[in-house]
Symmetry: C2
Subunit: 445 residues, 2 copies
């Protein structure tokens, strides 16, 4: 498998050291608008390979938590020697403008890539998605094509939904015999795999699937004080948090006001209770297409300070993606916000704490009795920094698509058309995630 | 008098219709980085002249207020006919980069201007100030050269203070026999005139001069809801509110934390109580140079929402004037904030309410007994829009330097070197302000 990885930002740069330990692919071309950024990611990997550890350690779990780690192999022991030997030949870097469909198609052809792995902002989904189809490549992303609010009733009804533009082209992907695997990060992605796993193996019927994301991460600023520094792409966070959140209920989708229905969720492994609010997210659009559930929601533990920041950005129009003109130069305010904040990928050394992604499922168990579980994945920043040199949030996002690509490369996952993660058998995915050294967990509620 | 007015933004564009009704000057060249903006201001004035009212009406005062309007002529009756006749020949527009000292000097010479009237952000003070000196012109601004915080103890001690760079050059202005009248807007400006008036005519000795600025202005957004839309230059507001506020006390200056010492001040003419906080402002630096007072402070009625917005901008680094790089383009985040918000000068039609600037003076009266007065100037947006087509805050700022220029043109004010408004006799200023149709008031506390 030859992969064109578009985007050497937080997640893109975390993908490389994860993939470097695996042998399922032949080559990854790292592409970025800023060629030097792609080159830096590749050359860092070369240097890291020279000092690679012999094995991956599995993070310890808090003994106090009532955790069920499924009894499947939970260790990854790919030989570090082969990794070192192969590293230099397996990665290369190019400059590429993700908005230039023709250039992306040409790059896929020139580098004979089988799959385009999209690791840029979702505003570039459609040119990348179309370029892959045109070049006869498969496609994978971690966030779906963007929504547009309902023109007259934005906080009641969806307008154009996340992924609508992509799903509309599914017949063409099917006709070409190619696969577009959309929403295959951690959320969406692993969360969708959890939903399918619960439906297949834990529940007879499901009342609600509530994706819940929370963390106790703190970032130290200069002088040791806690700093305001988002741990994930602020561009994407603004997009998902300020759009009307979407909810699946009674066989249909509806929207609400931003930050609606606050609820305190108790996250596992010592993270503890975090207030979560409704956010627009792909799982709500993806899960009901393949998994039967009465209700699907997504709530994010943003915290009061972050909500206030987002509200203020919106109040000032700084969330806007429409360019403003300054002395003859055009820039979008949201890009300026992103450029003014520290790059989330660089924060790992100043971060402490854990991040948790998961699916909280309520319904009737296989025995017909009420059951409630939280299937989750926790990454401790200290562990991901030590093992991979990547901070927890981007590492947690980056590992999932690598697992998915390995399943596709090995033929364990197969499909054609535009499909979400819940369209596939969840068991090989969850097994392989354990093998990557980052096990998932389950808590009976 | 021939005037080079640099800046056709909020205040600059409000200056033109005020000056158009006066005959003290021969010509005003309106200059802006964006030439078309300067041209628009001039051509609007031409059109306005064709429908000019025959006289200026004096705003009514709330009968319930205990107000003393000094018994001086309070009406302005310049003939509208002569205004119309002269308008076309008295204003012209040019493009000019305020940061280009040589170009500004050349423009002053080419247009034979006697005075440079600076109506741009204070970051351009020094090139304009030097260009005027080099061209042998007088100079007037409404905000002084910028401060820089103390390197190690920013919230205790001043570093480079507002105006320090300008005052350092005073000997050269004196030697050239030219005048730089600095801080001659409303605050600083009229507030400084009030301080001098109190010292000359109302007090034997002064304990404290507290400049207090508050308003009850609201801006209607689309759909009639109250909108967040600053009524004055956000660039300047960020600068003055996020810098360490400065206080004069015990014969010296010290600084505090931003937004310190909140206090509720009851503003006159129906505005009512507003919470005010310390802000870095020129009056605190200017007043003690010419007026003896135990303490000088500046507090601004920002309101909780505005303070939260400013804190958030600071937290995200969006107050920064250092450029960030976005796809090969460099922009300063603060410029993007300004460009994202509506132009304050265009808000007049959607604004309601009044703005008040004034000086609250406590000490011993001429009879030696304790006395406390608030000398103030209120502008009602409804009045300024009707009379001048300018919103209240920019109009209130714009009228003061026009009054000052008229006093200089007529020889009522004379000076050489770098001088603040309190260096001059306040009586002719306050008389002429009344004659402009916008009387000041005094409240015994």
């Amino acid at each position: 498998m030859r992969i064109l990885l578009v985007g050497a930002g937080g997640v893109g740069s975390a993908v490389v050291p994860i993939a470097a330990r695996r042998d399922f692919f032949d080559h990854i071309v790292v592409a970025d608008y800023d060629r030097s950024r792609a080159e830096a990611v590749v050359s860092e990997q070369m240097e890291a390979a020279d000092r690679a550890p012999e094995r991956v350690t599995v993070p310890g779990r808090a003994a106090s938590e009532r955790v069920t780690v499924p009894e499947r192999p939970a260790t990854s022991r790919q030989a570090a020697a082969s990794e070192r030997a192969a590293a230099s030949g397996r990665f290369s870097a190019i400059g590429l403008d993700a908005s230039d469909e023709a250039a992306v198609e040409a790059a896929l052809r020139e580098h004979r890539c089988d799959v385009l792995f999209n690791a840029v902002d979702p505003r570039f989904d459609m040119p990348l998605f179309r370029a892959a189809l045109a070049a006869g490549a498969d496609y994978l992303d971690m966030a779906m094509s963007l929504s547009r609010p309902h023109p007259s009733r934005p906080y009641e009804l969806p307008g154009v939904k996340l992924g609508d533009e992509q799903f509309a082209m599914s017949p063409r992907w099917e006709a070409e015999g190619r696969l577009a695997l959309v929403g295959m990060g951690v959320e969406p992605g692993l969360a969708d795999v959890f939903a399918r796993y619960a439906a297949d193996h834990l529940f007879e019927s499901i009342d609600e699937i509530g994706i819940r994301d929370g963390a106790d991460l703190v970032v130290e600023g200069p002088g040791g004080q806690e700093a305001f520094a988002p741990t994930f792409s602020i561009w994407t966070t603004i997009e998902e948090c300020l759009n009307p959140p979407v909810v699946w209920e009674d066989g249909g989708w509806h929207t609400t006001e931003p930050f609606s229905e606050p609820e305190v969720f108790d996250f596992p492994e010592g993270i503890g209770p975090v207030e979560c609010v409704n956010v627009e997210h792909e799982e709500v659009l993806l899960v009901p297409r393949w998994v039967k559930a009465g209700r699907v929601t997504f709530k994010y533990g943003l915290g009061a300070e972050f909500i206030e920041v987002l509200r203020t950005l919106h109040k000032l129009g700084l969330d806007s993606t429409e360019p403003v003109r300054i002395k003859g130069v055009e820039v979008s305010p949201r890009d300026v916000v992103a450029a003014s904040l520290p790059d989330p990928a660089t924060l790992g050394d100043r971060m402490r704490g854990k991040t948790c992604a998961g699916a909280w499922i309520k319904g009737a168990g296989k025995d017909g009795r009420p059951r409630e579980v939280y299937l989750y994945h926790v990454v401790d920043n200290e562990w991901s920094m030590r093992e991979y040199g990547s901070q927890a949030v981007v590492w947690q996002t980056a590992v999932q698509p690598v697992v998915a690509l390995e399943l596709l490369a090995r033929g364990a996952w197969k499909g054609r058309g535009v499909l979400g993660p819940e369209a596939f058998d969840p068991v090989p995915f969850l097994d392989l995630l354990n093998e990557y050294g980052s096990p998932w967990g389950m808590r009976e509620q």
